[in-house]
Symmetry: C3
Subunit: 566 residues, 3 copies
């Protein structure tokens, strides 16, 4: 009851918080406020906050409109102006408690551009190494390498096999206007990841006003829109479907479907995280460009001219001209008019109170994660989850998508997933991760296996601590059963998007706070298990009365000084 009520409150607030603002008499605003009033469980204070959120949202919307108008007048404007605009937006964000650093960084990336990224990452690596110390897993994983044909060269050496920095993403498409990058296949990293060897994680980043040329891939894909506004077009038998996408949208693209997209924003990058499951080969995929010419090369040119002439009833000269023009690569600049024409025209009002029920309905191919009430939410963070019940298209890949927004200075967990493996991607903010890994421990100890086995009678395993810095762009894996916690820095919320594979019947078991697994055991079980008076066990496991999201460590800022801010 009480719980459900407060969840409703929170989810109202939080759905709004994702796009917050402040203003007067727009119909959307009106409806938003109305919704605040009819929530009977709201206290007066809650109602006030709710309305405030409505106003914030409205304000932001207005602002965006005004800017878009201005942009259109200018016809695009030069980079310096756009940079300024972008930085202003960041300041507004900061006022609302969201991280400014990442935002500013992106402004520079987008309009000051290039050459900045590399050194930053390098610095990060050094800090990380210094910071790591005694507790960190830091030996090499070479002995875990799977020997696969010609793949053995170029082994990755990594501190722990579960965390990937931005630099691990390798570009498979890269032009002046954007790039598609992908993590190496997981088994190349470590045999411990062979449970997810059929999956790959990719990242699309496209500059404003760009077009990604049509292609089909021999891989199933689930796309999660991390940032920006675009339109994705899928060509199916006999028909074409254009879907407008924005932050939080989930799109399923079936293997082999011709697809193209635009970044229709004039300022913001379009960033899309993609979970891929190749259909021909367990972990390899290729893009097939039908259109194009020399770059990207069109697959039409793989046919002999005789066959093409017959198939297209067109003579060779014309064909050679057609397939010789495109030289700019797979992501190209588009004019405002082209962008307009390629934008989907049934944008379908997505609104905080829309709920998760309708978008995932049959036939539809996109769903916004933030339309759902968060499954867990309190002042320390919110967790949004979309599974096959929300969006039927996730079913055949057995994937669930979740998004955690961890309030600055707070943390999520410790908890574990009973059977799903999380493939996570930090979309915003900074923090760190702690995880207990018995497999890591057992594979590391192979050298001294015999001592191990002779050693004492218990579970026999120790848990290797994995601790890793998280920042925008970090990817990490949390295998099933592994206890994990993620802690946001004191300066910014930490936002993490997760693809959870092997999702069916997964259960999230909390290890602290309300309904933690220890709390549910009998008195005698606790006593025998801990060899400690059950009253004392209870005192400890009943102290925390929040659920899932908690206040983070007090000492964190001191201890990790110079690390969150780099």
């Amino acid at each position: 009851m009480g719980l459900k009520a407060s969840l409703v409150v929170l989810s109202l607030l939080l759905a709004l918080a994702l796009a917050s603002a402040s203003a007067k008499q727009d119909p959307e605003l009106k409806q938003c406020r109305h919704q605040c009033k009819v929530q009977q469980q709201f206290s007066e204070e809650q109602q006030r906050q709710c309305e405030q959120r409505c106003e914030d949202y409205y304000l932001q919307k207005q602002e965006r409109k005004r800017e878009e108008g201005r942009e259109e007048e200018k016809g695009g404007g030069d980079d310096r102006k756009q940079l300024k605009e972008c930085q202003k937006q960041c300041e507004r964000r900061q006022q609302k408690g969201r991280s400014r650093e990442g935002c500013q960084q992106r402004c520079v990336e987008a309009y000051g551009r290039k050459g900045e990224d590399q050194p930053r990452n390098r610095r990060g690596k050094e800090d990380q190494e210094k910071e790591r110390g005694r507790e960190w897993v830091n030996d090499r994983y070479e002995e875990e390498e799977e020997e696969e044909g010609g793949e053995s060269e170029g082994r990755e050496e990594s501190d722990n096999p579960y965390v990937f920095d931005r630099e691990h993403f390798k570009a498979i498409v890269e032009t002046e206007h954007g790039r598609v990058s992908v993590l190496p296949k997981f088994t190349k990293r470590s045999k411990l990841l062979r449970g997810i060897e059929n999956f790959r994680l990719a990242l699309l980043e496209a500059e404003p006003n760009t077009f990604e040329v049509p292609s089909h891939w021999d891989t199933d894909a689930v796309l999660f829109i991390v940032e920006g506004r675009g339109t994705i077009t899928l060509v199916r038998q006999n028909k074409r479907q254009s879907i407008n996408i924005e932050e939080g949208d989930i799109v399923r693209v079936e293997a082999g479907t011709p697809v193209y997209m635009i970044n229709r924003d004039q300022n913001q990058k379009l960033i899309i995280a993609q979970l891929l499951r190749p259909v021909n080969l367990p972990s390899q995929f290729e893009a097939f460009y039908g259109t194009g010419g020399q770059n990207p090369e069109s697959f039409y040119t793989a046919f002999s001219w005789e066959v093409l002439e017959a198939a297209l009833k067109t003579d060779r000269n014309k064909l050679e001209r057609l397939f010789g023009q495109q030289q700019q690569g797979a992501i190209v600049k588009a004019s405002r008019e082209q962008i307009e024409a390629l934008s989907g025209h049934e944008e379908g009002g997505r609104w905080p109170f829309g709920g998760g029920e309708s978008h995932g309905s049959k036939g539809s191919r996109s769903f916004n994660l933030f339309n759902k009430h968060p499954s867990h939410a309190n002042q320390h963070g919110q967790l949004y989850i979309a599974d096959r019940d929300d969006f039927k298209e996730l079913e055949d890949m057995d994937v669930m998508i979740s998004f955690a927004n961890i309030t600055q200075g707070s943390m999520i967990g410790p908890y574990y997933n009973s059977r799903a493996t999380k493939i996570s991607f930090v979309t915003e903010g900074e923090g760190y991760l702690e995880m207990g890994c018995p497999h890591l421990s057992s594979s590391r100890s192979k050298h001294s296996r015999h001592q191990k086995q002779q050693g004492g009678g218990g579970g026999g395993r120790t848990y290797q601590k994995v601790r890793a810095q998280l920042r925008r762009g970090t990817a990490f894996i949390v295998p099933a059963g592994h206890p994990v916690a993620a802690i946001a820095s004191k300066n910014s919320n930490l936002q993490i998007a997760c693809f959870e594979v092997n999702a069916e019947n997964n259960v999230r078991y909390p290890l602290a706070g309300k309904r933690n697994i220890i709390d549910l055991m009998e008195r005698e079980a606790k006593e025998l298990a801990f060899n400690f008076p059950s009253r004392d066990v209870d005192r400890i496991f009943k102290s925390q009365d929040e659920e899932f999201f908690f206040a983070g460590p007090e000492e964190w800022q001191e201890q990790e000084k110079g690390y969150a801010d780099e």
Copy 2:
């Protein structure tokens, strides 16, 4: 509308065309003609053609009956006579525009027999090598080999990993009267085929009037009857089921089912293509012969005599006698009386107008592909497809079966399958194949990976052209997403049977002709993608107004001279 009507016409014609003839007042003939008349969409010319087909069919049927009668009088006849008879049939075929070469070849194989095959194939190989030239994929795939236990010896070295000649099929059963041969496991060929590593392709060829002795296999199987007339008997718990089979029939045999079969034709070989999916090991299977003696060895003899005596309540002497008699191998000659007795007796009139609806119904275990209307058909060819909706037994293996009959001088494609991988087998005729293979390209370029990656910004991949001669007995693989076209020689139709694995939700995307994927894109998308005026793009992609099957290249015969005719 118009389309559907013309498809009906075509499918009527074509279903008939598969077994054509010419004559008077048989009830079957009567019904056939009647069907021609009631098709309202038919023009007079079409009606005339339709009736002609009915007559052709009837004629052939009569002829066959007469021959069977003659054969029975002779009590089998000697090989020379049969060879002559066979060659006569070929001439009749040729008059109807079907290839004579393949047919004559088969006559020699059947009645002139042995020792001819080897040199012919070798010649083929040489021609192929000469013909291949600059465009062909011709380096070795050793570096792709999967190292698997003792399997590493005897590596296949192949031009491209997707095409298999007749000589690649290795005999696992071979007697005077027939043989069962199988392609090596696909991963032995190339790692690029590991997506289908759980499947094997086998081929049964049995002489007329033969019996394949009972056995069960530790593999699921789908059988496609390429040629001939037989009866297959499945032993299930408590009951036995005999199914008469003929060209176009599909039979599902579950792993472990005891099965035996006869070739009940007196002249024609029985040829069956089999897709196997082993249940014990990813790509290995074995036959288990319960009956038999020393050759095939009965598995009963794997038990000690003590156990057999107790189990069968029979003393050792008798058992030794029983299990010592069979020495002729797994395919033996049967008398006319035995053949008669073993033939199924509920042949169930299969008739061109029967439609695909009833045969696949629950409990039934065979279905004729040609009972269905072709899914695509025009004067350049026809495509027949059977999926799980037609024949429920295909569901658990996620397999679809298709058969393309490409008119001489015509071609199928270019097109691609969105998620299915085709395992194809040429059942008749000659021609060639073109396919664009980015995986091939990327795995080949591993040696120079770094150059590749630094190289320009596009998709990054080039498409390796695969081009291969096709002739009766060639097998080839088309992975999902790969653009492919197959071209029939000017002299004979090219007929290809395909097992398509990973069939669920597969979509065939045409790359030329009606409804091709380029045509479905917006004007702006074409413009941006090709960097070319959209009007010119349209002119090219709208020129071809056929669908799926097209007239082949004009220059083909000249250019490939001496190749189609060998």
Copy 3:
């Protein structure tokens, strides 16, 4: 009809036989007798036997109660007394025709303890080697080894890859009070087992009055209670479920579920066979102990103190104390009071006449195999089977469980499973196994592959005989399609529990006795297949009129002298 009737009789008798006894006017006894009377198909003799079984059961129940009472008075008693008591029980068992040896052995193991096991196994190995002779598979399997990362060292060398002795089980948990042991991953043994590489077989043995501390595992599990009486507790979201378990119970534990259990018997070991299917890695799993301290190490300690302090809102000192107490390992001694408190309290009368219908109902997590009528039963043995229809929880793992009780001097089979692979475990008695293995033969003959292929025309394969001694604790694998028979010694029943994987649509094909596969073939098929008059074939395959279980070989005892008794 007649068959069904006699099956009812048998199953009544046999269900009772599993827990037999003799006495007067207890309500349970009354009902049991009543059930005997109302079975209309019973002859007078059968009725008498039925009632006798009821009385036996009752007697045993009384005895047990009395002993438990005595035990409680003594407060546990010393080992010597318990050993005597245990041995007395064995003698009573022997009077009822069950094996005494195994029982006595267990008494020594339980109360005389340790150091006895090793030499016994070694002796067995030697006997085995002597006995093996010419027919046995005895060369090494090194060439079959899969090269996997650091796993290649410590290769198993085995006579045949399908049989595992007790010593192959390696301890992963071992304390003074019990142990959990597991077979090495199957592919480490032989590549021929890679079809079941995702499964592992484990064995829990816990002393009387013990507690196995809470843990969750990254593996799905099916538990079969081999012996003893315990309580297993599963923690699910928000609730806890305690299930009392006894011989024949099947429990499904989903991956990640926190679980703990007790052996609540004061005399008998609790022995549980477990089929595991890891969820993170194909054949590796780990235990995760949340409770515990230093041994087993709690995974809580993998988190930093800062994070734990924040999550549990408790200061570090208290936490260090909590997680430092447990030093006794994962299986600890519990007091009578603790055992009482941890016992499930809804024991739910399980009674021979309960039938198999209700226990597997939705929500329930245990099912007793012996509540079902045996699927096959005669004086030579009984076969009990539980599949997904009986116990829905088996469905997602596609597992079936069977239990064969082979009467002393009798045998099961020869037969084969059409698609399931059996992972079997001998729970009681002695005997031997015979199996025909063509895969074994083909992999062994790799060295001389070329001769093989040139060699004669038949199936091409020979069947490698596998013959192996079976005794309590032996595990063995029977792949799909492989003909197998198991023979009980003359001195004791042979009892085998089997997990059958790949169970859906599996068919058991008998190779002898009623409805054997040869019998179902046409006359002509037999004639052609055996090259032998069909009348003589029939005479042999119709001699045996029992079904599935038969009288064993007469000569067995002589021939194998000194072996069954060691």
